[in-house]
Amino acid sequence: MGETEVLTTKKKKKFAYEPVFTEKKEYRPENVREVGFVFVGHEISEDGNVMNQFLHYDQLYTIRHGQNSRFFKGLLDGKILGTRCPRCGDTWVPVRTHCWNMDCNLQKTEWVEMPLKARVHTWTVAGWSGRSSLKRLPIILVYGVIEGSKVAIANELKNVKPWDVEFNMPLKIVFKPPEERIGAIIDFHFEPEDGWEPSPMNKEKERIKKLVEPVYEWVKTLK
């Protein structure tokens, strides 16, 4: 017995980089909780032929931003960080951690701070959306090209009437107050550049106004 090797479980040294998370924030609303599978009801048709059951299932996800982390951390600081390929110079927000150009062969990109200026590439006025966004309607969604970027990024345009948006209009990027930021894309939105004035009403603007006005009323009826 004394000759048998005793196997013990020790805390193993990990051979992978293990980040130590020191800055933790919890802002979970009270009504958000994970409860696993719960059957919450059922219904049976009058003729007894069809049955429906109601199942609730909810879970918590961890979005591990990994190499993209600096972009989302930058939002907390009120900065838009883009990436740039040191070989071809292409620059992006949304970021790419490796270059899209085949000739650069997945070249690692470098981080650059972007100006808080953009232009409307295209736009729409939403009167309907996913469950999480219904109460925010109407939403003006624009694809804006941030100065220096090769791509357009989607975000909300505020501080303008829905019918006054224009192609190519100049925008500024406006961040929420620091205490309200969560390190997500909704930490900022677009607004018209200071001094920009909408053009006079025209036929298309009247049409959009007519389509949007009932949306304001409908949103008021949402619980």
Partner: protein
């Protein structure tokens, strides 16, 4: 030498939403197979040597690997199976996989079953589930869902191509009214009415310039298609089989904003294309399919199509991507009603996604089935009248479309 790929049969369940759609998926699949057997009695489940399942989101189904439930319900244990998932182009991609399997010579008789049960959650939750196929870190959180992304793309396209809201509304009217001749179509089974351009213009705003009736339907439905070698086709359906003479599959960016200067497109088509307005993957996939099928002039050589009208605007954009019209004449092309039943290239005689419905995994299969029915002369049997039959159809196109144009497939089918 590649083998010919044929289609010999197929069927869908009725497409529905909510209380009227009570088929469980495996029961629905069984009914689709049985309907196919009524059309081609020589076909037995014993003939199948591969099953490909076409299903988009397990979020709707609250069941991982639901294809395993269907497969064993059909008694197919021992037959190889796998599932294909590729967003809205799941059906087209599953058909692509089935065609490759036959073409390679490795399989002879391939069953494709597609389905989606989108009515297991509310409409707004369903929109949000689908939108999880957009980049949730950047796009979903700012309030985006697909109709909004498509509206932003269409808005610029319509301005640049001088296409009006009324123009695209005619497409919504066409497809819904075609569906009124199709007893399996969701529009026929539920709203059930003929509509006008005014109805579309007056429907509620979804995202400018898209209104409610410019949008496809969320659906529950199952579809089954039988893909096979020519040898098998001659055995079970010698007079009615259809050949897949061309096919193409292509891809574009997940985020529409990323395609302004994408090196891969600049290399193929030069700078400034596709911008956020053109469906480059559709053009690219069409070029592959046309080349394979020896089509030089699609407008003249293709008789009709079943294409991915997720939105009236996107059907219009697809016309140009397929090379049927260009920037200079697209508005007139629409106004001349070239794609209506009385036009020279009817599109979506079966009702399309706006009329028949859009249960994502089943959709591309449904389009292929409708195309097959037209080419094999089965429309009088499957639709309510000959109003939606394309007379003497020899060649059809099937188009399936995912994301913001992120994956697109095109198939050229011909009567043999």
């Amino acid at each position: 030498m590649n083998r010919k790929v044929c289609i010999v049969g197929g069927a869908t369940t009725p497409f529905d939403y909510g209380p009227t759609g009570f088929e469980n998926i495996e029961g629905g699949a069984a009914e689709c197979v049985k309907e196919t057997q009524r059309d081609i009695p020589e076909f037995s489940l014993r003939d199948i040597d591969l099953m490909i399942y076409s299903h988009f989101s397990v979020h709707f189904g609250h069941q991982l690997a639901p294809e395993w439930i269907i497969h064993d319900h059909l008694g197919l244990v021992g037959i190889p199976h796998y599932r294909v998932e590729n967003g809205g182009n799941t059906g087209g991609s599953a058909l692509y996989a089935a065609a490759l399997a036959v073409m390679s010579g490795h399989h002879d008789v391939v069953g494709v079953i597609g389905w989606e049960t989108m009515d297991s959650v509310s409409q707004s939750q369903g929109s949000e589930f689908i939108a999880m196929a957009s980049d949730i870190r950047y796009e979903l959180l700012v309030g985006g869902i697909y109709p909004i992304y498509y509206a932003a793309m269409a808005n610029k396209w319509m301005h640049e191509n001088r296409v009006t809201e009324e123009d695209v509304a005619t497409i919504a009217v066409k497809n819904r009214n075609n569906a009124m001749d199709n007893p399996k179509a969701q529009w026929y089974r539920n709203e059930h009415r003929y509509i006008t351009v005014d109805d579309v213009m007056n429907s509620r705003l979804i995202s400018y310039p898209i209104k409610k009736y410019d949008c496809c339907l969320m659906s529950r439905g199952v579809a089954f298609l039988l893909v096979c070698s020519e040898e098998y086709a001659k055995k079970v359906n010698p007079d009615g089989y259809v050949t897949i003479d061309g096919m193409g599959l292509s891809s574009c960016t997940i985020r529409a904003g990323d395609r302004l200067n994408f090196p891969g497109w600049i290399e193929r088509y030069g700078p400034g294309y596709p911008d956020m307005t053109e469906f480059a993957a559709c053009r690219n996939a069409a070029e592959q399919a046309y080349k394979m099928a020896d089509i030089e002039d699609p407008l003249r050589e293709i008789d009709f199509g079943e294409i991915h009208d997720a939105f009236s605007t996107s059907e219009a954009q697809i016309y140009t991507a397929l090379g049927l019209a260009d920037k200079n004449n697209i508005a007139q092309f629409i106004r001349d009603e070239r794609t209506h039943m009385h036009g020279d290239i009817p599109m979506n005689p079966g009702g399309g996604l706006m009329g028949y419905g859009h249960p994502v995994g089943a959709t591309g299969i449904m389009s292929a089935i409708e195309c097959f029915y037209q080419l094999s002369g089965m429309i009088p049997k499957k639709h309510l009248s000959r109003k939606t039959e394309v007379p003497d159809a020899e060649c059809g196109i099937v188009n399936s479309h995912a994301g913001t144009g992120t994956s697109i497939s095109n198939f050229i089918m011909r009567r043999h």
